[in-house]
Amino acid sequence: MPLLEVKNLCTSFFTDAGEVKAVNDVSFNLERGKVLGIIGESGSGKSVTAYSIMQILAGTGKIIGGSIKIDGQELVGIGEKSMKNIRGNRISIIFQDPMTSLNPTYTIGKQLMEPIILHTNRTRAQAYERAVEMLRLVNINEPKKRMKQYPFELSGGMRQRVMIAMALACEPDILIADEPTTALDVTIQAQILELMADLQKELGMAIILITHDLGVVAQMCDEVIVMYAGSICEQGTADEIFYNPCHEYTKGLMRSIPTADTAGNKLHPITGTPIDLLNMPKGCPFAPRCDGAMKICIDHRAQGMQINDDHYATCWMNVKKGLDSGDIILDEEGEDNE
């Protein structure tokens, strides 16, 4: 049984302008001790997926369908009271901006001890010891002094370490990291990523890493999900996604990154702008920006197609490729059988 099982998750925001389908039919599994990367542009629904799992959606947001199971236990609809035992205890989250996600009016110590006292049977003194131990674990020097300090006294990298310490204090099974290093410098980013990789090995937890940086994904992840306009367009192992992308959007993303070879040459950007989630087309959401869009892409949304063992893509191009090479043969009704 997978540790986390997300099935047909749909989350919408009900705004004055209409329903925004921020997450649309998203399914994936997360195994123990694995790192799953979710990549996509802003507005692609990667953060909302994470917030749905934690059930910390903003007021207008609501999970309207699907199921989220941790160790087989259903989380959708269990109620706020039971969710409180899950959050911070079994699933933890660290946010993008370490500057704003710590409370500026409490000391580091108070904020670190809060989840420990809440979720474990430790006394205050034991919680203090545990908090100091956690700070030491995330390589913060002089942890006892830091316990008494306020967030403004720490640098950005240190604050993110405190966030990680706080998230890991109750030894969760799953850590969701929502763009954990986007606000940091590359040198500090390297430190934080290394720390996360070490802790993951040491504590054996699973990580969902949300990012838009393909470099971070390449370095950290075992498996990758590519999201566009609220849906998964491709998912597979990191190697498959990077070396054998099978969705036009993923291919476009890979072409957009400047590398040593592109210096002095033109990049190949994806044309156009991301889609307006209020006006979703009935076909493939990427079709308006896709160079290879065909008639079928505009009218019909592709379902997940299995490329090989653990590699799925929702792109009609794969069918076209199959037809051209003769791997797929159309039967009488014009439906394809793979």
């Binding site: 640098s155 410098d185 990154i257």
Partner: protein, 327 residues
């Protein structure tokens, strides 16, 4: 090219800010400390470093948005000193800002935003000419003429940055300081904007100072790259040279920290992870600013600031222990 007069020549530029540390006491914060470089016409100089290293201050001081504490800035063979020099210079040198959300006035239409520099410098004789110029610049950056009457909030991040670029082009400049112009954008949009910078340079013969912390982007767009640390320039060389043979220990660790978007390479990559944070420029270490995080630091590094020496043609490095490290 090498004998040509540089378009921008910065000599021993210093920019200190006075920070109050008590009721009557203040202390200079040395944001930029003794930096010299020049940029040739049509060239792109990339400026990289961690946040707080002074790269943005360099860009702003060149445009005299701050009054330099010391040092000289020469433009096309003329020293910029008096107010009228600055006025004239600002017609030739403009800036593109990092945040396309806060750098555009939400109460102005696109045509007014792009038209403002034209108004300030009086670059048109009648209203028709003004509008023609505005539409011309909008076309240049890939905006439709129908966008002219809209407000900035109606546009996506990438389009806003296009508006910002059109505004900086409006005075027909030779030199543009690009201060992290793509860091707020998504990867796919980022590539569009980078290509546009390239095309505009080819078309209009622009010279860029390109400030960024994304080293892959800087490498792509720059001819030469300068690496800054705590207000000092520690290395300056051609883009390929910096990436293939970085010599300063800081440049080395900065480059090895860049995540490479290729899983197999990333797994094999041997990193030189820097420990600790960048020190506060208010309490900068004596001697070499990097010595507190440097693996190779010795007594000499604490005593004196190393000079920026040319170690091979066009490759400048400031490090006392260069010979020992790169053996």
């Amino acid at each position: 090219m090498s004998n040509e007069l540089p378009l921008i020549d910065v000599k021993n530029l210093k920019q200190y800010f006075n920070i109050r540390t008590g009721m009557f006491r203040s202390k200079p914060l040395k944001a930029v400390d003794d930096i010299s470089f020049s940029i040739k016409k049509g060239e792109t100089l990339g400026l990289v470093g961690e946040s707080g290293c002074g790269k943005t201050t360099v860009g702003r001081t060149i445009l005299h948005l701050y009054k330099p504490t010391a040092g000289e800035i020469w433009y096309d063979g003329n020293k910029i000193e008096t107010k009228s020099d600055i006025q004239k210079f600002r017609k030739k040198a403009t800036m593109v800002f990092q945040d396309p959300y806060s750098s555009l006035n939400p109460r102005m239409t696109v045509s007014d935003i792009i038209g403002e520099p034209l108004d300030v410098h009086g670059l048109y004789s009648n209203k028709k000419e003004r509008m023609e110029k505005i539409l011309n610049y909008m076309d240049l950056v890939g905006l439709n003429s129908e966008h002219a009457a809209r407000y900035a909030h109606e546009f996506s991040g990438g389009q806003r940055q296009r508006i910002g670029i059109a505004r900086s082009l409006a005075v027909d400049p030779d030199f543009i300081v690009c201060d992290e112009p793509v860091s707020a954008l998504d990867v796919s949009i980022q590539a569009q904007v980078i290509n546009m910078f390239d095309e505009l340079q080819d078309k209009l013969g622009l010279t860029y100072l390109f400030i960024a912390h994304d080293l892959l982007v800087v490498r792509h767009i720059s001819d030469r790259i300068a690496v800054m640390y705590l207000g000092h320039m520690v290395e300056l060389a051609s883009a390929a040279e910096i990436y293939d043979h970085p010599l300063h220990p800081y440049s080395k660790s900065l480059l090895s920290a860049v995540p490479i978007p290729d899983p197999k390479v990333a797994r094999a990559n041997q990193r030189v992870v820097l420990t600790g944070d960048i020190p506060s420029p208010l309490n900068a270490p004596s001697g070499c600013p990097f010595r507190t995080r440097c693996r190779y630091a010795c007594d000499k590094c604490a005593e004196s600031m190393p000079e920026l020496d040319e170690v091979s043609t066009g490759h400048f490095v400031a490090c006392h222990r260069l010979a020992e490290i790169n053996d």
